[in-house]
Structures are given as structure tokens and as C-alpha cells.
Amino acid sequence: MMRLVMPDRALEGLTIIEVGTRGAASYGGKLLADLGADVIKVEPPTGDPDRALGPFPGGEVHREKSGTYLYLNTNKLGVTLDIASEKGRDVLGKLAAKADALIHDYPPAEAEAAGLTYDAIRAANPDIVMTSVTPFGQTGPQKDFKANDLTMQGAGGWLWINGQPGEPEMPPLKAFGRQPSYQGGVNGALATMGALYGRSRGGPGQHIDISIQECIAAILELTLPMWSYLKTPVVRWGQRPIHPIDMFQCKDGAWVFVLCIEEHQWERLVELMETPEWATWEVAADRFVRASNWDALRPFMEEWVSQWNADDLYRAAQDKRIPFAPVSTLGNLLDSDHLKERGFFVEVTHPEAGTLEHAGAPYTLSETPWEIRSPAPTLGQHNAEVFGGRLGLSGAEIEALEAEGVV
């Protein structure tokens, strides 16, 4: 690891190799890159599949304009490499030899077939931290099960609890997007960073085996304790032991999130509602009782909410320190004065995709700000810089690799 006297960025001087095709490694790599690590993204010669995923401007497929790819790969150097070929493997070993960590998301059988094993990477660099983020981990009877973000929500126990309560004909529902991959990514970055920090204090290089199924099972709120403490099966959006926690449509068509966690918040809500009779009934007496009787109470709340415009109600509640929330559309968020003042959305200019606003920093560090230094790389953009400049391959050697389709 390069030692710097006074780095400007938290992770400056760390070199990370990212070999991913499923989003998890890309997000983990992004978290590290956005805090200043030097992340070299290794893509197959045909490109990361996320380049084909979109969304695309006007729906027109273009490998340099996929929104998923553009978002997940800011601040990275991009190279192409066929790691399944013998020569590609050799180049990957050279990259690993100069790196602090390698993060990938190839499932075990595919990784094995491509030679992307800890034994191989350790042989190139005994001090490296290698992180494998896979659906079920490296061991166990289901390690080779095929998976995607939908089935992983199922395997982790999340899918079961999401969906419309009280509608037995409606199936469990997937949460939008690629949440298991994102969770794998943030866990991957966290564990990698932990091991790198340990190494900087004299600890060893090592392999980190992360199971996305476990990442999901670890965050299910009170779902699992409901079984281990009470032997109670959970139901769709059923982990609401207190009420109100609900969503309603308002007069203007927008929705609002009605929430009281503490009893004193409910008391202020009753004031805001001008103390309707139903709120004084025994069946609404406290947050647990309201939960047991919510089916009966809900229509009253719905009726009251429907007389308001959503934003007015949200702000009226917050004025009384009741934690209501907007049910935001993405347009609302991009227009939010609060987020604007905080500078959350950032403009990123890409040579092919143009200037686009991205979701920005998940945290603000006072000394070492999160920042976008460069947009996502175009396919193979940094081949010469990385293979030539960093690995010292000659122009002829790189050309030969290109001719063989390795690069």
C-alpha cells in the first residue's frame, strides 16, 4: 500500500480490483471508489452485463448509456479482460499483485471455472484481502443454487413479509430494484474495509466469504425474533406491533405515511385531528391496542387523511413533532429544497451519455468528502493506462492480448 503524508481522501492510496458482473461487486467498488480508493474495474471484453441493463435515454440500448452501469461505476478505472483465458488470468494475477484488495461476485462454480479462487489470487499476492460476495456463500448444500435479486429476497426471508396485508390472493411482492445486490455490495465494502483496516494494524491478508442470503436474514427487523421468542409466523407487512404505521392517499392524489412510534406522538396527533371520538375509544387506548384493532380503526384514519393535501399534512404533523413522511415520487426528490441545499444530487458528465444527475453521497465526512472525480469508464477506457502504465506491459504485448481477444 502506498503511504501518503496527508491524503485528501479517506481511502486514497488503496488499490482495489473489482471483478463483478452482478451489481454487488459494482456497488461495493463504488462505495470504496467514492471515498477515494483507486478501483480498477475488470470487465469481460463484451462488457459488464449491467451495460445492457438500462435504463437508457429514450429506451435506446447503448452500452455506454446504461443508467445502472453509469450510477454504479463512478470514479473507477475500467479495463477489459477475459479472465477465463490463461493469459487473462495471468494479467489478473499481475493486477492482484499490486492491489490491496479484490472484490468479486462470481458464484462459486463460475469463479472456480474462471480460476478466480483465493488460492490463485493469494499466490499472486499473499497480503491481499479477497472478498467474494455470492448468493449463498462458498459452502453449504445450496452454494451452487442459481439466484437473482428476486429469488434472493425469497431465500433471505424478505419476500414473504412484503406485499399487501389482508389480501391472501396476492403473492409476496419483490421490493423494487436489486436490493439483495446492494446489500451484498455494502456488506462487501464494509467487510473489505474492516479487513484492510485490520491489516494496516498488523493483521493478515485473508479471504472474506459473504452470503447475500445471510445479509438479508441479518436485517429483517423483528421477523426472526418473532419466531425464536414467540414461535409466531410473520405475515405480509405484519411486523407492525404498534400503530399507526400506514400509508394513505390524500385529497390531491398524493400519498402520505402516517407514523407514530411513541405514545406522546400519538397524543399530539390526536390534537392535530381535533380529538375525534374514535381516537378516545378503548380500542385506540395505546399503541399496542391500536395495533390489535387497526383493521377497525384504519377507516377513520383514512377518512381524516383524505381531507388533506399530502404535503400540507406531512408538514402540519412535523410542526407538532409527529414523524409523518411523504410518499415521495422520484420527481419530488429531485425537486426537494432540503436535498438541494444539502447538495445530494450531483451532476456527472460522461463523454457519451452526457450530463446526468446522480443520487449522491450516503454520508458527509467533514475532512475527507465523498466526491465524484470521474464518471463511469467507457468500455476498456483505461486499458493502456492500467496494462501499460501500471503493469508495465509493452505496446506490443497489449496488442497481442487484444488480437487474441483477451483484452
Binding site: 491524503p7 492510496g13 429469488t151 431465500a155 400519498w255
Partner: protein
């Protein structure tokens, strides 16, 4: 061999779920996490179920015990000057301080970043709040369940033609907590190289939006969000949750390619589907998705979900039933990987808790102890760490500083 954060101490002022999720990750990696609590205002999680036999008790909530594993806990009334002074002494011997009180509270207690720097100039302090420490709405209050609708995730999630949906858990909390722990370790790494601590402003709202980044790209590129479409996927078909035999039994299936669709048709004994022109390509399958789903469900609805999973997985098709909590806890895969933690707890005995999703080859991590009961580590922290005598501690109890 020691964990990566061995020797790191965390002064933990957090409560509810997001903050404790952050500090639990740090405890998992070996940090000594000291929770400062008071019986004057008990942590929200301690007062939420499940409790064994449904009997409320701040020391036996499963919700609290799941997300506070491996930590220590003391009683300290921070609203008293003497209590805040003791907290500053704990911060003085810590590397990290984390809080998630409502905006402004920590400063009023004399425990803001400037106060803490005076006693520990390279402290890393993190404030975790719903809206962040700046901005016109910074004083608004928020909890994890609200972050799901606030972030836009609700408006993106839902059955086709229905309204926005929650996602069934307070997803904003763990998402913030995990991002927070990563930022803390990055700051520690920086501190060790430069001697500089720093202040980290963590907004749950913002970390919740970071995990739907591609949806914002859709909005920015095309002026509209992706439409709610149940469990369908724009790039995969079939991709849905299908009814199985039995009450409320289902299986999630997703095919990422024509080959996988062919394998699915073979596995469900319906080779005719492959040759059906309506399903020949992804575009055709998307255009005729209702018919496709019906054809697949006519098979799954006769199947036990786990039998269906085995048959489809044997053919190389991604399939898994939505597991109910009992099934997660009895999963052969999770058992084989030694995922569960079962420590003896003085109030609830041995209960199964979710463990650590990262398995480190050279410095294996383990949860050191069950979640603490209130004040469990008073003797260790006040006596051993701060060197107070028993008379001094008794005085603090008498003056209700320790309570």
C-alpha cells in the same frame, strides 16, 4: 487472532434501530461498544416486542437483543451535568462516538462534536439522523419505516395498477446502519494515517436513496420513474412469484436468458412452451407475460414449493420459495454455514439470533456476548475503565446520575 477492530472503543449514544445496527457491525469486528442508556428514557427497541410469552420487559425484547449483540451497556443520565461529564470521560478513552438523537439534542447535552474534540482531538464522531444535520427540514423527526416511502422506494414498489407499497420492514434503518459502519471504518483508516479525526453527518434519507440509484437514472433520462409492475422485471421473463400447492405457499422464479427459459420448460414438462411463438424471445415473453405466468402457474400450483425449487434448481433455473421466519431459522443452508448465534442471556435464556454475514478466513469473527441487559456493565465501565471506587459509584447512583 484478533478481529480487525480489536482495541477500538466506541462510545455508543444510539437508540432505536439504525444507530444500533451501525455499532453492532463494529462490535462484530471486535470493537468494544459501550451503550449509554438511562431508565429515565428507555431505548425504543427495548419497549418493542417480541418478548417471551408476550410479557413486556426492557431486558427481554427480541428486537433489541437481535441488534445489540456483542455490546456492553451502562446506565447514565446524560441530561445531568455530572452524567454528561462522565460520558465525556468515556469519549476521551474512545476512538469513535455515534449518536442518533433528534437534531440539536447532543449539543444541548454538551456532547456535540466541538465538546468531544476538546477531550479527544482525533475522535471520529458520527451523527445519524433522518434528514441529516443541515438543510431546511433538518429538525424534522424520522424513523426507519418512514425512510421507505421518503426515499422513493415505496413509489417504485407495488402490484401493477395498485398504489405504492411499503416493503415490509424498516429498510432505511439497516441500510443506514451498514453504510454508517463502512464510513466509520474508512474514517478510522484515515485517522491512523494522518492523526485526524472527523465529523460524519449521516442522513438516513440519503443512504436510502443510494440503493435505488438506477431508478433516479431512469427519471433523469426519461422524465418518468420505472412503473410499478409487481415482481416482474424489464429484462427477465418469466420473473414472478407463483402460487404453489397449499395455503399461502409460493415460489419465486426468474429466467435470465432464453436458455434458462428452455430449461424451465423442460423441468415443468411443458416443452410446447418453448416452441410457442408468443414466448420465443424476451420481447415476446414480455409482451405476453400474463399468458406466460398463467402457463407456469398451472404447473407450480400443483407443486410443493420446496419440491418445485429442487426440480427447477436441478435444471439450472433460479427458483426459491419465499421463506417464512421459521423456515429461515431452520434453513439447512444457514445451519451448514454456522450463521446462528445462541448465547445464554440472563433474561431470555438461549434464543437463536442472526449472526455475521461475513466469514473471514484468517481472523474469524464471532459474536462475543448476548445483547446486554440494562446497566449490565456498570461495574466494568465505572469501576475498571474509569477507576471509580465503590463509594463514588454509590454516590452517583444516589444522585440518580447512574440510573
Amino acid at each position: 487472532m484478533a478481529g480487525p477492530l480489536d482495541g477500538i472503543r466506541v462510545a455508543d449514544f444510539t437508540w432505536v434501530w439504525a444507530g444500533p445496527t451501525n455499532t453492532m457491525q463494529l462490535a462484530h469486528m471486535g470493537a468494544e461498544v459501550i451503550r449509554m442508556e438511562t431508565s429515565k428514557r428507555i431505548c425504543t427497541l427495548r419497549m418493542l416486542p417480541p418478548w417471551p410469552e408476550g410479557k413486556p420487559d426492557p431486558n427481554s425484547s427480541g428486537y433489541f437483543n437481535q441488534y445489540n449483540q456483542g455490546k456492553r451497556a451502562i446506565l447514565l443520565d446524560l441530561s445531568k451535568d455530572e452524567g454528561a461529564a462522565i460520558a465525556r470521560r468515556i469519549v476521551e478513552m474512545s476512538d469513535v462516538a455515534v449518536e442518533n438523537f433528534a437534531a440539536g439534542v447532543i449539543n444541548r447535552l454538551g456532547l456535540g462534536y466541538e465538546d468531544l474534540r476538546k477531550v479527544n482531538d482525533d475522535i471520529i464522531m458520527m451523527s445519524m439522523s433522518g434528514y441529516g444535520a443541515t438543510g431546511p427540514d433538518k429538525d424534522f423527526i424520522s424513523y426507519g419505516p418512514a425512510q421507505v416511502p421518503m426515499s422513493g422506494l415505496s413509489s417504485l414498489t407495488g402490484y401493477k395498477g395498485w398504489g405504492p407499497m411499503h416493503v415490509g420492514m424498516s429498510y432505511g434503518d439497516p441500510t443506514a446502519g451498514l453504510h454508517a459502519a463502512f464510513a466509520v471504518i474508512a474514517a478510522l483508516f484515515y485517522r491512523d494515517r494522518t492523526g485526524k479525526g472527523q465529523y460524519i453527518d449521516m442522513s438516513q434519507w440519503e443512504s436510502s436513496m443510494a440503493v435505488i440509484g438506477e431508478a433516479f437514472m431512469h427519471q433523469v433520462m426519461n422524465g418518468a420513474p420505472p412503473e410499478r409492475d409487481g415482481s416482474h422485471d424489464p429484462r427477465m421473463a418469466p420473473h414472478n412469484v407463483y402460487r404453489c400447492a397449499g395455503e399461502d405457499r409460493w415460489i419465486a422464479i426468474g429466467c435470465g436468458s432464453d436458455e434458462e427459459f428452455g430449461a424451465l420448460c423442460g423441468a415443468i414438462g411443458n416443452a410446447a412452451l418453448v416452441d410457442d411463438a408468443r414466448f420465443a424471445t424476451l420481447a415476446e415473453r414480455k409482451a405476453n407475460e400474463d399468458a406466460l405466468d398463467a402457463a407456469i402457474e398451472s404447473w407450480t400450483s400443483e407443486q410443493d414449493p420446496f419440491d418445485a425449487m429442487e426440480k427447477l434448481q436441478a435444471a439450472g433455473v433460479a427458483a426459491y420459495p419465499p421463506l417464512v421466519n421459521q423456515e429461515v431459522m431452520e434453513s439447512p443452508q444457514l445451519a451448514a454455514r454456522d450463521f446462528w448465534v445462541e448465547h445464554e442471556h440472563p433474561q431470555v435464556g438461549v434464543r437463536r439470533h442472526a449472526g455475521i454475514p461475513w466469514h473471514l478466513s484468517e481472523t474469524p469473527l464471532s459474536v462475543k456476548r448476548a445483547a446486554p441487559v440494562m446497566g449490565q456493565d456498570n461495574a466494568y465501565v465505572f469501576g475498571e475503565l474509569l477507576g471509580m471506587g465503590s463509594g463514588e459509584i454509590a454516590g452517583l447512583v444516589e444522585r440518580e446520575v447512574i440510573r
